[in-house]
Amino acid sequence: MAIWLRRSRNLAHYLKAEKGFWKVPNQTRLSPCFFNPEISSSATLTGENCGNPPSFLGNSPTLFGSRRFESIKAGREELDLEDENGGHQNQAMDFPGGRISFTSEMRFVSESPRERIPCYRVLDDNGHPIMHSNFVEVSKEEALKMYTSMVTLETMDTILYEAQRQGRISFYVTSIGEEAINIATAAALTPHDVVLPQYREPGVLLWRGFTLQEFANQCLGNKADYGKGRQMPIHYGSNKHNYFTVSSPIATQIPQAVGAAYSLKMDRKDACVVTYFGDGGTSEGDFHAGLNFAAVMEAPVVFICRNNGWAISTPVSQQFRSDGVVVKGKAYGIRSIRVDGNDALAVYSATRTAREMAITEQKPILIEALTYRVGHHSTSDDSTKYRLVDEIEHWKTARNPIARFRKWVNGTGWWSDEDESELRANVRKQLLQAIQVAEKAEKPPISDLFTDVYESLPSNLCEQEELLRESIKRHPQDYPSDVPT
C-alpha cells in the first residue's frame, strides 16, 4: 500500500508537471476524480478518494500492455486499476462536458436492465402500512380530507359520465382509478404552487376548493363558467386556484411549466410548478425538450407522470421500450422516483419530498406514478374494444386506490361505514343538484363570442358583432331563445 501511495504521488507530481502532455485544461472546470467518477473533486491521485484498491501489483494483463509504452516515456509509470465493473482504467481524458475515464473493455450498456426500478409504496393491498417504510405522516384531518375528496372525485366522474351518456353534456373524461394520484399530489402541495395539468387531474382543482357547481358550470358551458363557454367540457381553469386552463394538445404544458418555473425562480418565490402528463405524453417532443431544458435551467418544477398503462388504445409496450418513464429522468440529469400511484400515502410522501427538493435545491424532479386507467379514455371511447374486461374489473376492484385508502382510515379508527354511506349520499345529492342548476342557468351572452381574442376588442370584431346583432334583430325566430343577447 505504501509503495502504491508513493508511486501515485510521483505520478501526480509528474502529471502536474506534464500538463501540456495531458492537455489538462483549467482544473476548476473538471468534474469527477480521476479514478472514481462518483466523487467530484479535482484530479488528485493520492488514493484517499478511491474506493477501489489497486490491483496493478497483481497479474493484470494490461499492466504488461502498458509496459510497452515505457520506452517512449521513460520514468513514467502507468497505473492500472480495475474498476468495480471489471474494466480497466488506464487513463482519463477531458472531453467537452467533463472528464471521462476510459475502459479497454468494449461493453454496450444494456437496453433493458436486469431488474426494473422498484416502486415505492407505503400501504400494502390491504391498507396496512408496510413495516419499516419511511413516509411523511399525515394528520387525521388531512387524511380524512384526502379520503372524502377521493370519494367526491369518483362520484363526480361517475355522475357526469352518465350525464354525457344521457345527452346532457357533450363530452367527459373520467379519472377513475387515478383518484390517489389526483388527490394525494394535490394534498402535498401548497396553494401557491402553480399547476399545469394535462386533462385527467380535476382532483387537484377539487382539492384546492373548486366547487361541484363550478365543475358543472364549465361542463355545461353556461354564463357562470369561468371559461365563458369557450371550451369543451373538462377544460377547467382557474387563476385564483393557481390551476392553468387545460389545453388539449398533449404535453404542451411540459415546456410551459418550465417557463413558469423560470419565472418563479426569477421572483425567488417559495413555490414550485407542478405539471402532469400521462405515459403517452412522454412520447411527445415537448417532453424531451421540457425535461432537458428544466435540468439545464435548474428550474423548480415537479414533473408527475401518471403512467396508467394506456394512451387511448395504445398500451405502454407500444409507447416506449424503456423501463417506464422513471429512467428517462436520469437521462436528462433529473432526480426521479417511481411510486405506486394507487397508494395515496406513498404518492403524498413522494410529492411532498419532491416539492421540498425542487424548491430548496432549485432543480426539477420527476415522479412516475404507476396506476391503471380504469375508465375509458373519454366518452368517445369504448375501451372494451382493445382490452379485456377482466383486466379492467381487476383494477377497479382488487387494486382500487380508494378502497385501499379506506381500509387504512378504517384501520386507524378515523372513518366508519356510516360516515361512508353518508358521504356518498351527500355528494351524489349535491352533484345532481349542481347539474340541474347549471343546466337551467343562462348561456354566455353574444358579446363573449368576440371578447378576449385580444386584450381589447379590435375594430373588425366590433363590426362583426354589430352585424351579428342586426342579423338577430331581423330574424329573431331563428335565434335560440335561451342564449341572451
Partner: protein, 382 residues
C-alpha cells in the same frame, strides 16, 4: 432664378439630371441647405432593433430575451449584441436547439407574468414551434376567458435572404396573419423597426415580429423623435411612404424598398407619357390587424391597386388585401387588382433561379403599367 427653374420642372418637362447639370454652382449650397433642415442621423435596421431591445429591457425588468445564439454569440445576426453583457444570463438566455422547447418555455413564462422575447433564427424554424405559437400563445387568452394573457413577442428574420434555399427562404406573413389572437408586424425601415418592436414588447397580446435578414444592414435616416426611448408606433396602422394619385401599391418588409424603387423608375419614365404615373406606396407595417381603412381610402383615391409580397401567391397577404378592397371599394376600382408574389415553388438555390422566384423591381413596374392600361394584361405572378 433657381425658383423659376424649379417651377418649370414642376410643370412637367425637364428631367432632374439636366437641371442639375445646368446649375453646378448652386448645387453645393442646395445640398448644404438640405443637410441642415432634414434628419441628419442614419441608423441600420440592426442597430434600430438592438436599441429597441436594450431600451425595453432596461425599462421593464420582466422583459427577457431567449433564443439560439442570442447571448454569447451576440445573436445569430448580431441583433442582440451587447445585451448579455449588460443584462446577464438571467435575462438573455442561450437555449438548447429546440424551437418547440423554448417557444413552450416562453409561453409558460408569459403565462406566469414575465414578458419574453423569443428569437427564432429564422421563421422557417418557427414551424417546429408552431403549435405553441398558435394553439397556446394565440388562443389562450380567449380559451381561458381572459384569465391567461400571453405578452410574448416571437421575432426573427422572415422571407428570402440570398442563396439560402427552400428551407431558409419562406415568408410566413400569411401563415401567422391568418390566426386570430396573434398580432403580426413587418417593419421596413429603421424607424419601423424601433417603433414597432417597442410596441410589440409593450403589447399585452402575443406578437409575431417578422424582420428581414437583408434589411438588417441597410441604413435609413431616423428622426430625433424616433430615437427617443419612449418612441412607439401604433400597431395596425400602415404608413404612406410616397404620395401619389394614379395607383396604390401595398407592400411590406423588403418589398417596400422595391416598390419605392419602382416608383422612382416610373416617375422618370412617365416623361414620355401624357402625364406622370404617380404611385402611392403603402408600407403595411402591420399584417394583422391589417390597416384596411388606409388601403381602401387610398384605392378610392387612385382607383387602381397593385399588391406586392415576397411570399407564395396562394392564400397570401395580397389575396386578403384584394378581397378586402373588393368588399369595400369595388365600385372605385378602374382596373383588376394586380397581385405580385413569389413564384409558386420552393425557393431554388441557384442565383439565377432565385432571382426569378422572387419579385423584382421590373415586375412591379410592369404590374403598375398593366393596372394603368399601359401594357398588355397577363397573369400577375412573378
Amino acid at each position: 432664378m433657381w425658383g423659376i427653374i424649379r417651377q418649370k420642372v414642376g410643370a412637367g418637362g425637364f428631367p432632374v439630371p439636366i437641371l442639375e447639370q445646368s446649375l453646378p454652382r448652386l448645387r453645393p449650397a442646395v445640398s448644404a441647405w438640405r443637410r441642415y433642415s432634414s434628419a441628419a442621423k442614419e441608423m441600420t435596421v440592426r442597430d434600430a432593433l438592438n436599441s429597441a431591445l436594450d431600451e425595453e429591457m432596461s425599462a421593464d425588468p420582466k422583459v427577457f430575451l431567449m433564443g439560439e445564439e442570442v447571448g454569447e454569440y451576440q445573436g445569430a445576426y448580431k441583433i442582440s449584441k451587447g445585451l448579455l453583457e449588460k443584462y446577464g444570463p438571467d435575462r438573455v438566455l442561450d437555449t438548447p436547439i429546440t424551437e418547440a422547447g423554448f417557444a413552450g418555455i416562453g409561453v409558460g413564462a408569459a403565462y406566469y407574468g414575465l414578458r419574453p422575447i423569443v428569437e427564432f433564427m429564422t421563421f422557417n424554424f418557427s414551424m417546429q414551434a408552431i403549435d405553441h405559437i398558435i394553439n397556446s400563445a394565440a388562443k389562450s387568452n380567449y380559451m381561458s376567458a381572459g384569465q391567461i394573457n400571453v405578452p410574448i413577442v416571437f421575432r426573427g428574420p422572415n422571407g428570402a435572404a440570398a442563396g439560402v434555399g427552400a428551407q431558409h427562404s419562406q415568408c410566413y406573413a400569411a401563415w401567422f396573419g391568418a390566426c386570430p389572437g396573434l398580432k403580426v408586424l413587418a417593419p421596413y425601415s429603421s424607424e419601423d423597426a424601433r417603433g414597432l418592436l417597442k410596441a410589440a414588447i409593450r403589447d399585452p397580446d402575443p406578437v409575431v415580429f417578422l424582420e428581414n435578414e437583408l434589411l438588417y444592414g441597410e441604413s435609413f435616416p431616423i428622426s430625433a423623435e424616433a430615437l427617443d426611448s419612449s418612441f412607439c408606433l401604433p400597431i395596425g396602422k400602415a404608413k404612406i411612404e410616397r404620395e401619389g394619385k394614379d395607383v396604390t401599391i401595398t407592400a411590406f418588409s423588403k418589398m417596400v424598398g422595391y416598390a419605392l424603387k419602382a416608383a422612382e423608375i416610373l416617375a422618370k419614365e412617365g416623361i414620355s407619357a401624357e402625364r406622370f404615373v404617380t404611385k402611392q406606396v403603402i408600407n403595411l407595417r402591420s399584417i394583422r390587424p391589417l390597416d384596411t381603412a388606409t388601403i381602401n381610402a387610398s384605392v378610392r383615391k387612385t382607383n387602381r391597386l397593385v399588391t406586392v409580397e415576397e411570399g407564395f401567391p396562394q392564400h397570401g397577404v395580397g389575396a386578403e388585401i384584394c378581397t378586402s378592397v373588393i368588399e369595400e371599394s369595388f365600385i372605385y376600382l378602374d382596373a383588376p387588382v394586380e397581385r405580385i408574389a413569389g413564384a409558386d415553388v420552393p425557393m431554388p438555390y441557384a442565383a439565377n433561379l432565385e432571382r426569378m422566384a422572387v419579385p423584382q423591381v421590373e415586375d412591379i413596374v410592369c404590374a403598375v403599367k398593366r393596372a394603368c392600361y399601359r401594357s398588355v394584361p397577363m397573369t400577375a405572378t412573378a
